[in-house]
């Protein structure tokens, strides 16, 4: 009970520090403007969701990673100060994670959540929100891992950008390469597994299949729709996303516990 209390207190200070930095306010405003204008420009709300999805898949991971990395290095002093207090390293890192992810999440929920609730409060809208929330948490967690591992700010941000490049751009290229080269073989199951190895792809697929566009994807699309539409498919998506959130954070904690500060 007491432990949770001090962690909440710490998170509150982290949150307070972040809100004052104004970057988070700019991020919220950006998401809000983009969502609102897309819903107003497109007559068909599902078309708007599709455009919004493409923006979210690029912007949310990028901002989450860069913001988290910069925040981590900027709060190095705070972490140092806390370490000289009766405060365990686990608690310090987790409350940092709590503060950062909470502020990024509330940005997303205000910036995208409100417009979606106003214009498209259906299952597609909600799965868009789910994707955005998971991606925020996943990439915050990944950024904690890279910043704990990297020795200085420049390396940290470099690592973060590299990871983002990989997940957002390079990975898709690799998949296309595989699909072209092995197009003679049945690859449906393989691609299913491959999609789980990239949270961005997983998010994209789980939403696309809820839309009409999935009809354009032929046999593979039908198979996917069968899988992702079912209860076990949803569980699969949620489970894999959770793994993507927990595993990097757990790894970061392990490194952080042994680190000299």
């Amino acid at each position: 009970m007491i432990k949770q209390k001090t962690m909440l207190k710490l998170s509150r200070y982290v949150l307070y520090d972040i809100v004052r930095s104004k970057v988070i306010l700019a991020y919220t405003a950006f998401l809000f403007l983009v969502s609102f204008s897309l819903f107003n420009m497109e007559e068909n709300s599902s078309k708007a969701i599709l455009s919004l999805l493409n923006i979210i898949l690029i912007v949310v991971p990028l901002i989450s990673m860069i913001f988290t990395t910069i925040h981590y290095y900027n709060s190095y002093e705070f972490i140092e100060l806390m370490l000289s207090q009766p405060m365990s390293r686990r608690k310090i890192l987790l409350s940092e994670y709590g503060g950062v992810s909470l502020s990024l999440l509330s940005s997303f929920l205000i910036g995208v959540g409100i417009p979606v609730l106003l214009y498209s409060p259906d299952s597609i809208g909600f799965s868009l929100l789910f994707t955005g929330i998971s991606l925020t948490l996943v990439f915050t967690s990944l950024a904690f891992l890279t910043s704990v591992k990297a020795r200085d700010k420049a390396r940290g941000i470099g690592f973060a950008l590299l990871l983002w490049f990989y997940f957002a751009l390079i990975y898709d290229g690799l998949i296309l390469l595989i699909l072209f080269n092995f197009s003679d073989y049945p690859l449906e199951k393989t691609t299913l597994v491959l999609s789980a190895l990239n949270p961005i792809d997983l998010g994209r697929i789980s939403i696309m299949l809820k839309m009409d566009v999935s009809a354009l994807m032929g046999y593979t699309g039908a198979l996917y729709k069968d899988f992702f539409g079912s209860g076990s498919g949803i569980l699969f998506t949620v489970g894999i996303m959770l793994l993507w959130i927990i595993f990097p954070l757990w790894w970061a904690l392990r490194i952080f516990k042994k680190k000299d500060l």
Partner: protein, 262 residues
């Protein structure tokens, strides 16, 4: 109170601590001295758990420090270079720490806050503070929770003479309360009136750990600095560092070579 057993620490190839053993008890004021890079700060940070030693054990009140951070509630630490969140105001910093530690207002020792006049700058942000003022904040924080153990890393470096005196008086006062105080400093004259024990580190090795009276007896010198210098030369340590410290002191003597004898 604090027992250190066979502590080793390497930073890549550099040996920072080489098989250090020591026992510190209540009522002692221990001066950790040695040239730059001799491992003083590393030793202090190992005690605080900020640096993880490669091997060896550290006990606090006979309990191994390993994971459980609660023992740090009894330690007040003043770092060499105090670094604090830039956006935070001085007042907020104190408030936050009290809040996190869950200590009620009447149990807090705010003597240094008053004497350093920190209340007047409570609404300034940490970013705008000068190095010396930061040191004052660090000192006030170290004493704030009335800890049993005080660890002060170069406490008087960067403080003006007046504040330095205030801090020394405070240390003396706490010494009287039977506390364990660990100080590192290069300004040996500062330590003269405070110290009970001397711990000398060089290149990560513990060269000696002696009571100050014993040291004075062995060397026949009353001044701490000279006593150490004598030991260094007798035992043939690398005494360049200690010689360096004396250049200033001796020049002072030359200026008024013959004071009227009493």
């Amino acid at each position: 109170m604090i027992r250190i057993e066979h502590i080793n620490k390497k930073f890549r190839k550099l040996v920072a601590l080489d098989d250090i053993n020591a026992q510190f008890d209540k009522g002692q004021v221990i001066s950790l001295i040695g040239p730059n890079g001799s491992g003083k700060t590393t030793l202090i940070k190992s005690i605080l758990g900020m640096v993880k030693a490669d091997s060896g054990k550290i006990f606090f009140n006979d309990e191994l420090i390993n994971g459980d951070p609660s023992y740090r509630s009894q330690i007040g630490y003043m770092p060499q270079i105090g670094r604090y969140p830039d956006n935070m105001k001085v007042g907020q910093l104190f408030k936050m720490l009290k809040n996190i530690r869950n200590v009620s207002e009447d149990k807090v020792d705010e003597e240094l806050i008053d004497k350093f006049g920190l209340k007047q700058i409570f609404d300034k942000s940490m970013r705008t503070l000068s190095g010396g003022t930061r040191q004052k904040v660090s000192a006030a924080l170290a004493f704030l929770f009335n800890p049993d153990v005080l660890i002060l890393d170069e406490p008087t470096a960067g403080l003006d003479p007046l504040s330095s005196e205030i801090l020394k008086e405070k240390i003396l006062k706490e010494k009287g309360k039977n506390k364990l105080i660990l100080i590192t400093s290069h300004i040996l004259s500062d330590l003269d009136e405070l110290t009970t024990h001397i711990m000398y580190l060089q290149e990560g090795k513990l060269e000696f750990f002696k009571e100050i009276d014993q040291l004075r007896e062995e060397t026949g010198e009353l001044k701490l600095g000279k006593a150490i210098a004598r030991i260094m030369k007798g035992e043939k340590f690398n005494s360049e560092w200690i010689d360096g410290m004396f250049v200033v002191g001796e020049k002072k003597d030359e200026k008024n070579p013959s004071l009227p004898s009493e």
